[in-house]
């Protein structure tokens, strides 16, 4: 039997799956946690052509539709991670304090096994972000975990708004100020990086417009960095900003006010609890860790009540992973807010479903179980906020992409034929956040060390 399944998998994997497929499925008799419309016991969820077609009792699908018996199981919307770095081949273009021109969506790695592991934790969408080495980093990409597809383009969530990474505080100061002796050398400098970049973009956009309207005879040089910054000023790109300290969070909101930018989600925002009313007033949202801090100086003043305080103050809040390990159990992370802050089930689950969807501008498509929304669904044995919860199935666009009982042990899509196995010795790499990927070695050991390690 296992052999037969393996065989089917091999056939499936060798098919040129260039177009992401949408599925039909009937999930029967589960406890449906809709997030937006309460909990529905012993209820069916019907997905047709990748979209939720109905939620109710005794639903019937077309003849021959795949059916999942969810009796005794919990059915919830696919979990959304508003901050991760999985499935991309480059995280930090750390060569300048402003790199708005780069876009991690252009280096998607569809073979990253971390995507499958995330699916094994019920996560169907993640926000693949640029790192936090630069004050204005690169553009990010909202990806659907359509694991099994080998075309990077199929991972991009069609219609998801453009987003970009900003960073405050120690990271850009260390990389550029201390590392290269340029602005920003201090937190003040970081502010000036934003102000001068936006000002330059205004001038750039004016000269482009002057050419279009005929005021300029010759076309001015094209600058992708300035194009992107001008798009931010025009409200076409959502900002997601790496932040810890309250004073800097206020600083950035002031800068944005001056330049008329309205949309921002603060990431990490460990001192968000200090400025929760100000965030709410600005309309800013917050994406936090449940209880992760003290990994650098500016991240000591923290509390596990952060998410609850922000929520109670009316700030749209989510809990993220920033790690290919944490992404596998975001439901545990959400549950911690019930211990620290007493959030209700719905409030806690929103932190990993509807709220991150709002922050990514995709809440009309995903984040809750409602007819018309995408068939991105996680099915658990045990309530997802229970410490005993075990994900059983994960579906993206109505297709089962994780099946705990039936998936083969080796789910890698790409295998290196030159790979050397050493079964006796397995080096375990310490878990850490990936925000500073590509730069830390350079930072602490110098460029030569980096070159020696990476050969470039």
């Amino acid at each position: 039997m296992i052999k037969a399944i393996n065989f089917i998998w091999i056939i499936l994997l060798t098919l040129p799956l260039c177009v992401a497929q949408k599925g039909d499925v009937l999930i029967k008799g589960g406890t449906v946690l809709t997030i937006s419309q309460g909990v529905k016991e012993k209820t069916d969820v019907l997905v047709l052509n990748g979209k939720i077609a109905g939620i109710g009792k005794n639903l019937q699908g077309p003849i021959g539709i795949k059916s999942i018996d969810a009796t005794g199981l919990y059915v919830m919307p696919g979990i959304i991670d508003a901050h991760s770095h999985i499935a991309i081949d480059a995280v930090n273009e750390a060569s300048h304090p402003v790199t708005a021109e780069v876009n991690v969506g252009e280096a998607i790695d569809p073979f990253d096994i971390a995507v499958y592991r995330a699916l094994a934790g019920g996560v169907t969408i993640s926000h693949a972000m640029h790192g936090s080495a630069n004050a204005i980093g690169g553009q990010c990409q909202t990806i659907k975990h359509r694991y099994g597809n080998m075309d990077p383009e199929t991972y991009k969530m069609e219609g998801a708004p453009r987003t970009i990474k900003f960073a405050l505080g120690e990271n850009p100061i260390r990389v550029h100020g201390e590392g290269q002796g340029i602005v920003p050398r201090t937190r003040m400098g970081v502010e000036q990086v934003f102000r001068s970049a936006f000002s330059e973009a205004r001038v750039y956009r004016k000269s482009q417009n002057d050419f279009k309207s005929g005021l300029l005879a010759m076309a001015p040089a094209y600058n992708l960095r300035m194009e992107t910054l001008a798009d931010i000023l025009d409200g076409k790109i959502l900002i997601h900003c790496h932040s810890y300290r309250a004073d800097e969070i206020l600083m950035l909101m002031n800068v944005l006010k001056d330049f008329g930018v309205k949309k921002i989600c603060f990431q990490h925002v460990n001192e968000g609890f200090k400025v929760a009313p100000e965030l709410a007033a600005f309309g800013a949202s917050a994406s936090v860790f449940a209880d992760w801090w003290a990994y650098k100086f500016e991240v000591y003043y923290s509390t596990a009540y952060n998410a609850a305080i922000l929520t109670k103050n009316g700030v749209v809040t989510s809990i993220n992973s920033d790690s290919d390990e944490l992404i596998r159990h975001l439901y545990h992370e959400a549950a911690k807010t019930q211990k620290y802050g007493g959030l209700t089930d719905d409030e806690a689950l929103k932190l990993i479903t509807l709220n991150p969807a709002i922050q990514l501008g995709i809440d009309t498509r995903v984040g809750s179980l409602e007819p018309g929304k995408d068939g991105d669904i996680a099915i658990f044995e045990g309530h997802p906020l229970s410490v005993y919860a075990i994900p059983q199935y994960t579906l993206v666009d109505g297709k089962v992409v994780f099946d705990r009982k039936n998936d083969p042990a080796d789910m890698r899509l790409d295998v290196d034929p030159d790979e050397k196995f050493d079964f006796k010795f397995y080096e375990r790499v310490a878990e850490r956040d990936k925000c500073m990927q590509d730069v830390t070695e350079t930072l602490f050991f110098g460029q030569q060390y980096h070159n020696a390690l990476h050969g470039h």
């Binding site: 273009e93 060569s95 790199t99 021109e101 094209y222 042990a409 295998v415």
Partner: protein, 569 residues
């Protein structure tokens, strides 16, 4: 006026005579009569026994009954197999690899890298960097190639290419078939400057390409001589990239793996340049997009290493080691793989097969492809192509990929790629049919100039009368208490010997610098124990056993002992 023209003609003809006279003075005729060869004129045709007349670099006549003129050098290539000379569709032949700079260039400030520092050097031309006497030229020729499409070494946009003939001219200009043929790009980041990642490279590429287009437009505006148009900015890199933007010059995008292919395809779709996917090793997941885009592909014959497991199986079958000692069997049991480990090995093996089958996949999908020698070892490339053939590639497609397809890609199909009257006398001579595993290249003719592959024995000296070296010898070496065992194998090849050393863990290493002097044998090995380590072995033979020592890297010298296990005694 008329008189002057006549004078010029006379002078020209006289000058021509002088040239000819000079050449004959050197005592080398440019006319060859190649007698009785099995000639394959083009891929897919049957080899026929015939003769070929070559005059001044051009095939003058082909036919079984033709006769040489008095000034033809007769080449008795009886029963050799002759094919059109191979064409390398992309490489850096003749250009030395720059020593990796140990120190990162100090830039005034990060991010302010200029085009050169960013790896954008489209103005670089291969010809300026080609060294005509570089050994890579003769190495490639020895492997059957007559032409090489050479790109300068570089990064994101490395520069434009020169198509060279692989002759032994003294000056690089004499190699040139044509210049400024194509541009090469890759996703290689800059060294210590912006861009430092693949996303940085893509962004920089897009911006640079866009600005090339704007420069072309601005030049056109300026040319109209309207008022209010100041002189356009002149940037060397934009000028050099303009032919690519105008689709007059193809862009060879280096894309070894499918992810690179997908990325290059996205760029191409957005910008519309003429693209060739270059130095590809594995593109299977992207095959539909490659087909839809109509891109030509240059495959790299540099394949992943064959797995040791398989070698072992083959070895056991071939040699039928019935007398394998019990000790080894015991060790085998201890090393038995778990189910999980077997599963991993199996997938690796499947993947390896998939790599071999890439050429067949391209053929099946009617995608035009040739071979790029940029990262391949010339000596091994035919072995790779034969392996691809075993994995489903047809003989016709394999030969086309080496001859007619690259000739068409490079727009020289009128002169090269097949053996016909009037075409360049560029051909390769094998002792057996090219797909025979044991076929060896005897000689190569490049534009009518013959180069003979001299057979060099792989070893120096010869064994004394009492020593029958050929066969298998066991070895035992005690390295500080850790006993390593295995076998040495010596094979007679032509006038000399070659050898391999195989450990009991089935790590096989060829012997290098094999010297045989009476009953003394020395050779070198490069073993891999975490890192490559050189080993020098010196053995003294007495009848069917030997003793000696092995000097292992810096670790010291250790005693080696062994005796004959297989072969003539």
């Amino acid at each position: 006026m008329q008189n002057r023209r006549i004078l010029w003609m006379v002078l020209f003809v006289f000058y021509g005579f002088c040239l000819k006279a000079q050449e004959y003075k050197s005592g080398v005729t440019k006319n060859y009569f190649i007698q009785n060869v099995w000639l394959t004129t083009s891929p897919g045709t049957e080899a026929v026994l015939t003769s070929v007349k070559v005059r001044d670099g051009i095939i003058e006549e082909i036919g079984p009954g033709i006769k040489p003129g008095f000034d033809y050098k007769i080449i008795k290539a009886d029963s050799q197999y002759v094919y059109a000379g191979f064409i390398d569709a992309m490489s850096h032949t003749g250009i030395k690899k720059e020593e990796d700079k140990k120190e990162t260039p100090k830039l005034p400030s990060r991010g302010l890298a200029n085009y050169e520092q960013s790896g954008i050097t489209p103005q670089n031309n291969a010809l300026a960097n080609i060294k005509p006497k570089d050994s890579s030229i003769s190495d490639l020729r020895k492997s059957g190639f007559v032409l090489s499409h050479v790109f300068p070494r570089g990064r994101m946009i490395a520069g434009n290419s020169t198509l060279i003939a692989l002759n032994d001219a003294e000056h690089e200009d004499k190699l040139v078939v044509k210049n400024n043929v194509a541009m090469q790009a890759s996703f290689t980041p800059a060294n210590g400057a912006s861009p430092s990642t693949v996303i940085g490279v893509i962004a920089r590429f897009k911006e640079f390409y866009q600005n090339t287009g704007l420069a072309i437009d601005n030049e056109a505006r300026f040319a109209k001589q309207n008022l209010g148009h100041k002189k356009p900015e002149y940037v060397e890199e934009w000028q050099a990239m303009a032919p690519v933007y105008k689709k007059l010059m193809p862009l060879y995008f280096v894309t070894p793996k499918s992810k690179d292919v997908f990325r290059a395809v996205e760029l191409q779709k957005g910008m519309g340049f003429q693209m060739v996917l270059a130095d590809v090793q594995h593109l299977q997941p992207a095959i539909d997009k490659v087909k839809a885009g109509g891109y030509a592909v240059l495959l790299s014959p540099q394949l992943p290493e064959e797995q040791k497991e398989e070698k072992k199986e083959k070895g056991e079958k071939k040699e039928g080691q019935a007398n394998a000692d019990a000790g080894r069997e015991e060790a085998g049991k201890a090393n038995e793989r778990t189910e999980e480990e077997k599963g991993l090995e199996k997938r690796k093996k499947e993947k390896w097969q998939e790599y071999l089958a890439q050429a067949a996949l391209l053929e099946k999908n009617n995608i035009s492809f040739a071979f790029s020698m940029a990262n391949a070892k010339p000596a091994d490339f035919l072995k790779s192509i034969r392996a691809m053939k075993k994995a489903g590639l047809s003989e016709k497609a394999a030969l086309s990929a080496l001859t007619t397809t690259p000739a068409s890609m490079l727009q020289i199909a009128g002169q090269y790629g097949t053996l016909e009257k009037g075409k360049s006398a560029s051909m390769v001579f094998f002792d057996k049919a090219v797909w025979d595993e044991k076929a060896i290249i005897k000689q190569v003719m490049v534009d009518g100039q013959m180069y003979v592959n001299e057979e060099k024995p792989k070893s120096e000296g010869k064994p004394g009368d009492g020593l029958k070296l050929e066969g298998e010898w066991s070895y035992t070496v005690d390295v500080q208490g850790q006993v390593e065992t295995g076998r040495f194998k010596f094979v007679k090849e032509g006038k000399g010997y070659s050898g391999t050393s195989t450990s009991d863990a089935n790590e096989s290493t060829p012997m290098e610098d094999l010297i045989i002097d009476g009953n003394k044998v020395t050779f070198k090995l490069m073993i891999n124990s975490g890192q490559p380590t050189p080993v020098t072995v010196e053995l003294t033979f007495t009848n069917d056993s030997y003793t000696g020592n092995a000097t292992i890297g810096e670790a010291g010298s250790f005693v080696v002992k062994g005796s004959k296990t297989n072969g003539p005694k």
